[in-house]
Each structure stands twice: as structure tokens, then as C-alpha cells.
Point group: C2
Chain length 295, copies 2
Amino acid sequence: MADFQTDRRHALAQVAAFFDTLLQLPDGPESRLIEAMRYTMLSDGKAFRPYLSYAAAQLFNVDEVSAIRVAAAVEAVHCYSLIHDDLPAMDDDDMRRGKASLHVAFDEATAILAGDALLTLAFEILADEATHQEMSKRLELVTALARAAGMQGMVGGQMIDLQSPQLDLDAGGLTRLQKMKTGALIGFALEAGAILGGADEAQRHALTGYAHDVGLAFQIADDVLDVDAKSVNLGKTAGKDAADGKVTFASLLGTERARDQAGLLVEQAINHLALFGDDANGLRQAAEFVIKRHS
Amino acid sequence: MADFQTDRRHALAQVAAFFDTLLQLPDGPESRLIEAMRYTMLSDGKAFRPYLSYAAAQLFNVDEVSAIRVAAAVEAVHCYSLIHDDLPAMDDDDMRRGKASLHVAFDEATAILAGDALLTLAFEILADEATHQEMSKRLELVTALARAAGMQGMVGGQMIDLQSPQLDLDAGGLTRLQKMKTGALIGFALEAGAILGGADEAQRHALTGYAHDVGLAFQIADDVLDVDAKSVNLGKTAGKDAADGKVTFASLLGTERARDQAGLLVEQAINHLALFGDDANGLRQAAEFVIKRHS
């Protein structure tokens, strides 16, 4: 029970099934939009973020339907951000998850719209009564997602990231960027589980701390991966950050020190989970996966 | 009381004041994003959609704070859609509201992100308890906005519009496009007033009917305007639809018949308002404004 890889595959399959049912091709020219959304949502991602929200919900024995709907909303927002970030006007990435980016497979306009539609859909999913019978929880989810995704979270972080070649960021500045761009949605994934589960303050605090450390470790590991890996393994263009002149944790600290830092953060993340006992073993393994995946 | 121009100016000023307070420049590189959002939200639009939601709320004596917050969310979503639609990959429009489009004044990446942030912000505004004390109403607002803005509404409509030069649409197809692209948000504006006000079924039905007819009249009038007007008066590039090879109501019906059609729709829209008596005079004037503004 609570095995990371088992639960991750389960969450991935359930989220894919959810979107397969939800995204039915309509009988009109807007079917192109739905095709584009399906291209993204039924592709084979790591499902790391949906896993985190699913696993956090499991800690509180949250109903399966609720947990999967929230995991689906998390994945929709993650995918929207990847689609928009990959656009030529942004990071200009042609590959994603081992296949052509959405704007390459379709076109830029369709990619912009598919991202917009996925972001909107996430809020529709969360507000629906199927997500949880308690209205206060649905509202809390909507508010928490909006804060994580918006100008003070992901979008603000991407705005900083785009300017980063000109910013000469130090480790503090880069950590802040990461916290907004990547950390906010990882934070929401765990917070969402806590909201669904009616977590008490200590439990919430533990999950917030875990999310913070795992999020930062994830980004540091990603930067190291970007230096080390070949594109074919990474499923996206490798070495791109350096080529774009972006400061990364790898370039600031060197890959060795960056690896050490990520390892320390993972330990710290795991320490946050003590109060959950063995129920949190999956989340412990997930934290370790963050640094092991590049070996 | 209930005068269109007075209430429209009031709603415009209050919505601008709301965003002026909300969008404070942070002390970091993400301030560029907020500047871009301010560029759009504090510009001098017609405020037609926020007026409609404000006026609908006034029919039920809804609290001013609630009415303005919802009007602000409507305007945020409208502006996000204009920003994204103006992008080079979409309609490629350099002018908007009499000044440079956001991607021209800033850059494409910033415009994409500002749109994303405004869409997200709209949901955050609606879910906040300051919008209404009743949770069920806030949830209903979030759901209704997501449906109006998403794949079955605005985004789906824009997807069809982009393909319209290849689609050979007839009046039915064009009406469906318009209903999704323009009509859905106008529908939400009025529905939102009904939700806030706890409208009964007859009142809701009346406002939905009004929204449908006004929305269609608005689009037909816009098409005629696009043919007739000079860019300087329209505040956006004129004659663009024809140049893009897009079917419009003006090209399908001819400008004379299109004008007649819009006039009939406005009459029909006004007829829906009978049950509100004199309280709906502002909405009646708004419907007439839709066809008068191009003279």
C-alpha cells in the first residue's frame, strides 16, 4: 500500500480515463480544439503532480472520485502551462514528453487556445459538486488553484523566467522564481489533498513543508538533468536553459553541489512526513524519485 | 435611475478603481506582468459587458461591492480574450481600444501571460467571499464563467472563427460561432446578475433571452461597423474581417439587411425585459446603443 510507482501509474491511468471521457469530439469545427486538448492530456507524462495530489488525498482516505478529479485539475493546469511555455514567443520548445510540442503538431493559435481551455476547465472541474459535497471545500480549491496558477504563482514565475537571461539572478532570486513557476502548483497539489481531507493545522503544515522542499529539489534536479541528459531520455530539448543564457541551479552551484543540495532537500521533505507514519511511504518514495530519476 | 450611460460610466470607473487597487506593482521582475495587466484593465473600453452584469445585478438590488466584483471578473475575461485574439498567431491585430495592442506595446510572451493571469484572476475574484456571502452563489458564478469562457464557449468560438475562412459558413453556422465566441460571455454577464440576485425562473429566462438577442445584435452591428468605419473611430483595425477572408453577417446578408436584422433583434431583446418594468430602462437603452453606436 501507498507505493509510489503503483499509485502514480494508477493516478495517471485514472486521470487519462477522466479526460478521455470528458473530451469528446464535438460535431463541429471546434473539434480541432478538443483534438489538441486530447493530444496533450492523453499523452504519457510523468504524472508527478497529479500523483502528489492523489497521494495527499489518500492520507486522509478521501473518496477516489474526489481525489482523481482534483488530480485531473492539477494535470490540466500543468499541461496548459507547458503548452504556453513551449510557444515560440516563450521558451520555443519543439519537443515535449517525447513528441512534438502542441504548437508544432497543430499550430500556434490552436496551442494558445488549448492552453486557455485547459486552464478554464480546471476551474470548472473543481467547482463541480462531483468534486466534493462540501461547498466550502470546492471554493477553497478554486481559490487555492487561482492563487497558485496566477500572477503571484506560475504566471508570475514564467514572467520572471523569461527575463532571467537579463536579470543576473543569485540563488535567492532563482529560488523565488522556482517557487512561483514550479513550486506553486506542486504546493497546490498537496494543499488540495489537505483541503479534501480536512487536514488539521499540523498536517497541513507538514504537507506545505514537504511541497516546498520537493518542489525545489525537483527544479534543481531538473536543471542538473538538463545539463546531463540527452534529449531522447528527457523527452524535451536538453541543454536548452544554458543555450538560452538562463541562470540555473546547475550553473550557479555546479552540478555536484546542486545534486547535494537536492539530496538535502529530499531528506528534509521526508522529515516533514513523520506524523503520517507508514501511510506516507508513497510520498517518501516520490521525494526520492525526484533525485533518482536522473541516474 | 437605471440610465445606461450613467450606469455604464459608473461601472467603468468602479471596475477601473477595483483593478487599480488590486494590481499593485510588486517589487520584483514580475512587475512587468502587472504593468501589462494594468495597461489593459485601466484602458478606456466601452465597458459594455461589465455594464450588463452590473445592470442585471441592479435589477435585484444586489449589493454594490458584489455587483462591481462580478463586473470586474467579466471585464477581466473579456480583456484576456481580446489580448489573446489580437496575437500574431491569431487575428494579428495591432490596435485595440485606440492604442497599441498589448503584444505590440509589450511583447508576445508578456501578452500571452497577461491574458493567462487575467483569466485566472477572474476565477479568484468570483470565489472570494467578498463577492457574495452565500457559497452556493460563488460556486454557481465560477461554474457559469468556466462554461461561458471555455471550450464550449469563447475558446471554442475563437477556434471556429480562426478556421472560418476555410469553412464557408452559412448564417446558421455563423450564428453558432457568434453565440460561442461573443454571446457566451454576454450571456454570463446577465446570468451573473441573476445569480447574485437570486432571480426566479421567469426572470432568469428573460435575462437569458435578452442576452442572446443583444449578443447577436452586437455581433451583427460590429460586422457592419467593421465594413463602414474608419480605424480611428473604431479603436481597432477596420475592414479586417473582409481582408482575412472571413464570412461576416455583413458579407452574408449585405449591410442593409444586416442592419435590419440587428434592429429586429434589439426589439426582441427589449421585449424580454417587460417583467422588470422601468427598472430595466438602462438595459433597454443598452440594447438600443448596440445598433446606434455606428451612426
